[in-house]
Point group: C2
Chain length 700, copies 2
């Protein structure tokens, strides 16, 4: 067993108590390992540095993996009390690659490392306690409360790997060697690469719920089949030595070898060699986690997908044979031919992963799997396949933006895991994908194949609920009821006194955010779900929204709406979209002349957390507009937190509008009420027809 | 352990395989025991006799418990293939007390006993196989497929007891003694009864999902609390000897002692003594299962609740002390004071139940529980409490009419179990209730109490889905859309050619059935759910419907609609309501001039089973009217059975209306199509607004 790491526990088992104990060990092992990763940073000051301009400073990640447990446990109502609402807001959003980030770099904006460490300990105690006490039956399923804890653990495992990459990108004087992360000391001349025959076969991807024995992310479930012919794959990962020829031959200067995206990347960054190569005094050296060493020619080169593709084209130009990166299905064929067993039957000594051998790459000819090397471990291997949902894909409601934002044909799969991978990352069915310009502990192997990839024509939103909202906001009107986003924005604009900055809270797919920008200087749209937010963001960035609307059974119509048709060309610089929790908004969302909360309050886990302080985010004469049909339901809001729709202890009926007057009365004056209908299409023949109440509140 | 019976298996356990084995043993034990009960019948001819005019002939019950497994497994989609559709229709409805029965007594209408026996064996094999193979995780919950099997087993356990009562009511020459069911041979003078002090306490009724360790029927879950003062309860069940005084003193002739319902019972039946007493040659003898014996004075008397109440009133008149039957809560206080352990910790040797000692009653002073006798076992004990749902009650979807039809304040609880009880019937939390005139192996003990029972004012339908449909059919209109039941009946009447008999299939709460009776001579309303059917039946029998409609959150408005307001006074003799499965209708539902299938086809588990033969039930020139929004969903209909709303193998979109034309085209002419809107209220602000398509088909 690895000194540092443990395998993910099985979902099955005979004894509840034994299972709790296994999960507890796995949790603490993960929490410990993550903290060991931060011991690589030289001192506390380094926590406030970014190693990459597009990423957060390291303190963010240090807090983030702990707050993730709390935020998910809160959202799923496993717990009802936060530990530190402020931390759980500022450390909340980690998908920084998507530019939802809005925190400055300055140390003063972030908590002290010691405080965050103390916070982590409190989270550790709480989660430990929950593992002992929450209801548990076996097997653990996606519906179990324990699933949320496993999700927190596997999320932390991902950050163990990505944080190690960020540390490796830090200026070398800011990091230090630690005993836990020893590098490989072997290296020699690169072996000559060659092609190995891989047998074609009918490949089935995807695991089944609930029979699979391991925790999986949403994108692993479902089914995808493809029958592929024989092909050839490189015996070894491409080594630094093999890649050197491309570099020395001017590969980075020869634009013909690069895709459009690759050319753009070269222009923006000006790179001339792989990221962990250092050109010094006429020779290339190599950066490990904390050291600069002689170039290890026989270790795998680490590049992004754009560089890997350029290398393939270079090799093709020289040989006349068409080289490419493997598809997802081809990789599985390689995996099968290599006769690899899945976790837990796989022994980590067989590959460079799970921190068993090294905290670095190692020679590409060290780990042999029946004639093909490093099928798993050493470094990840870029695929030419963008990540796509399998048939039957469903988001897990606790983390609905784990995969969906990556289903944009721009995120390519990385395959096989690296020395820094553990937990779910080293399991057979896991699927991780990054933008092609992104750096990880990732290199590549090439293939020679006749398989034609399926064309993916246009990207219609396939998420049923998001599509339903797209139709609601951008689609047709029904029963003579006007577009609701337009109506609410018009009412808000009418009652607003000043028209500087507006907040569209619960913005869903963003239509009202754009509509408000017709009268406001600046509008921010916030929704709890990134799945929704990204529709508005896409309309802003790509100038269109594409979705499908259900007509009958599973038959649907595809629709595409452009920013020009909508008349929003001139508005897109005024709007921005953010993920956020209305019950725990970040402090920077403030100074508004209007806050519009549309069909939001009866879906919050605790609406008082929103209402009690919302006045602080409004300017003088600011307007709060609340729109709601008051459809309280226990699945969204525990009954004790309902604002109305129940009888109090004396038997008196409590209506929501009365509670709003009580709660907001001290700080706001109610200046207007009206009913406003809306219609949401489910199919061509079935609609939700709702009458919301609009109430307009002027800040006193 | 009882020679004949086994305890219900625990839902919990560590080993899946062991649990399958336990369930398998319990299943076969139950199936065997049920068949042993029928060995009491002298020969196969007796299977075609009724022992009670309101009940089915015994062959029905013999088939019924087997078809129950299949019908429930089909409805829950655990299996997709029937064994014998005809049997599974004619043996389907067993709640004969509710008068849904429509089968004649003649032997010719029923299958042969040998054929039914062969059918039972096929069911036995299938269920055995399923117990081995269906997905299983522990604990078993209400959502498990295995729950449906446990439901089938516990259902059969109920019929073991009720069939023994029916056999005991058979003419004695039609039954025989068997070795499996030996009666008690002890009897002597009745002991003098006395009152025992029971300590008042705070009683909590109801078990929690999913923590309870045993299978439970829907009515056992939820919570009910009541704090009761001290009271007194009779030490013994009332014996034949004790009851004799009431009989000899003219208790059955003295109308003052009887409730209104009791007087009605006396008039209808003319009974003069308990049902298992036989007055012969000037003395009372006693009937056991298969024998006539000397009156066992010290055995408990068996009476219905009306007789038990009359006895209490008689005793009160004589003593000036107020005697009554125990309430449900008082019985639990007795149970607690008796320090009885629940199954499986209770040993059956401690009481006369589970077929451990006798297949008859035994002396009331044989089984002592800390000073009070027969708290469980011997005979059931009538309660004064009508069965009511506990807070948090929810039906189990596989058997939604198990309890709900009994929540009518007319079904009184029976407590404590009898010698013929086993399985769920002998568990602490089980709750069974019967109409007060009904006979079981039931007697009573009396109490002297100051506890005032809660008044239950009026009976508003508390079933949320049924209420929603009541509002839909009998409530207000919204968005200017006409009442749908009235509109469909009007369209049907317009296109009907002859106006003899009409069938309202999927009648829900029955409004359209009444509306059709305005133009048809006779209308039958059928729905899959008794919960719905009983609303129409109640309107017919009680001349009103009462329901509540949700307004905001959990706040509701109570509504009551009378038959006079609706203008249906003169129609009620023309309508009747039946439970039935549109995919497997009984043969007697035939000879219609109109069949109206309203919002039905997209909710059937296999709509082709309905469509392929429906023409056979129509008269010449008969009209089939189908109304549907075609909202196919996998939760109702497996996708392979959808009629439309999918793309076929060639990629062509298949619409439902096209499939209807294909399927019905040979036998029907499509004479009219129109769209018809309907609106279902969820709350005062939220509605389902749907556009169904009406298609009118004339039989060729």
């Amino acid at each position: 067993m690895s000194k540092l790491s443990r395998y993910s526990p099985l979902l099955y088992g005979d004894s509840i108590e034994t299972k709790r104990q296994e999960i507890k060990e796995y949790f603490h092992n993960t929490f410990d390992l993550f903290e060991k990763v931060f011991e690589v940073l030289k001192d506390d000051d380094v926590f406030y540095k970014k190693s990459e301009i597009t990423r957060h400073p390291m303190i963010f990640y240090f807090g983030h993996t702990a707050t993730f447990y709390i935020n998910k446990l809160m959202a799923m109502k496993v717990i009802s009390q936060r530990i530190n609402p402020s931390y759980e807001s500022i450390f909340a959003v980690g998908v920084d690659e998507m530019s939802w980030d809005d925190m400055e770099n300055a140390r003063s904006n972030w908590p002290e490392v010691t405080d965050v460490r103390a916070y982590r300990n409190r989270v550790r105690e709480l989660v430990d306690e929950l593992i002992t006490t929450i209801p548990l039956s076996l097997p653990i399923t996606q519906k179990s409360a324990m699933w949320i804890i496993l999700m927190g653990i596997e999320h932390e495992r991902i950050h163990i790997e990505t944080s190690l990459v960020l540390h490796r990108q830090m200026p070398i004087e800011l990091v230090k060697e630690t005993v836990d992360f020893p590098i490989c000391t072997k290296s020699s001349k690169a072996p000559m690469n060659e092609l190995v025959e891989i047998k074609g076969c009918d490949i089935h991807l995807g695991v089944e719920k609930p029979s699979h024995a391991l925790y999986g992310w949403d994108n692993e479930y479902g089914a995808f089949n493809q029958d592929i012919p024989d092909f050839k794959a490189s015996k070894y990962l491409v080594s630094n030595g093999e890649f050197m020829e491309f570099v020395l031959d001017g590969g980075y200067e020869n634009k013909e070898l690069w895709s459009d995206e690759g050319k753009e990347f070269l222009e923006l960054t000006g790179v001339k060699h792989p990221p962990f190569w250092i050109f010094k005094d006429g020779v290339y050296k190599y950066r490990t986690l904390a050291l600069e060493i002689e170039m290890p020619d026989d270790w795998p080169v680490e590049v992004n997908a754009l560089e890997a593709e350029a290398f393939c084209r270079y090799k093709e130009n020289k040989s006349g044979v068409s080289y490419t990166l493997p598809s997802e299905v081809e990789y599985r064929a390689i995996y099968n031919q290599a006769q690899i067993k899945d976790i837990p039957d796989f022994h980590e000594s067989r590959a460079n992963l799970d921190f068993y051998h090294y905290a670095s790459s190692c020679p590409v000819n060290e780990f042999d799997f029946h004639g093909i090397y490093d099928v798993v471990g050493n470094v990840w291997q870029w695929s030419r396949t963008p990540i796509r949902p399998f048939d039957g894909f469903k988001v897990h409601e606790a983390y609905d933006d784990f995969s969906v934002p990556t289903f944009d044909e721009k995120h390519a799969l990385i395959l096989g895991s690296s020395w820094a991978s553990s937990g779910n990352l080293i399991t057979k069915h896991s699927r991780y994908a990054f933008r092609r310009h992104f750096y990880q502990n990732a290199g590549f192997r090439y293939v020679v194949t006749n398989t034609k990839d399926e064309e993916v024509a246009d990207i219609y939103e396939s998420d049923e609920l998001v599509s339903q909202y797209c139709e609601f906001q951008y689609g047709d009107t029904h029963f003579g009821v006007e577009n609701f986003a337009k109506s609410t924005a018009a009412i808000a604009s009418k009652y607003a006194i000043n028209r500087g900055k507006a907040l569209d809270l619960g913005c869903a797919t963003g239509r009202a955010t754009f509509e408000l920008a017709k009268t406001f200087d600046e509008v921010e749209g916030i929704d709890f779900s990134v799945r929704f937010v990204q529709v508005g963001a896409k309309l802003k960035s790509d100038s269109y929204v594409a979705f499908s609307t259900l007509e009958e059974g599973s038959l649907a119509t595809n629709k595409k709406v452009t920013i020009s048709e909508l008349g929003y060309d001139s508005l897109k610089e005024k709007v921005s979209f953010w993920q956020g929790d209305a019950c725990n908004l970040k402090p920077n969302f403030t100074s508004y002349d209007l806050i519009m909360a549309t069909n939001l309050i009866d879906r919050l886990y605790n609406p008082r957390l929103f209402l009690d302080t919302i006045d602080e985010r409004l300017n003088k004469d600011g307007i709060l507009m609340i729109t709601s049909p008051y459809t309280w339901q226990e699945s969204s809001t525990k009954k004790e937190f309902w604002l109305g729709g129940f009888s109090d202890e004396s038997g008196k009926e409590v209506k929501t509008i009365e509670s709003l007057q009580t709660v907001l009365g001290d700080k706001f004056e109610l200046i207007h009420r009206e009913d406003l209908e809306f219609v949401i299409k489910e199919t061509a023949r079935k609609y939700q027809h709702t009458i919301s109440e609009v109430s307009i509140w002027k800040k006193k």
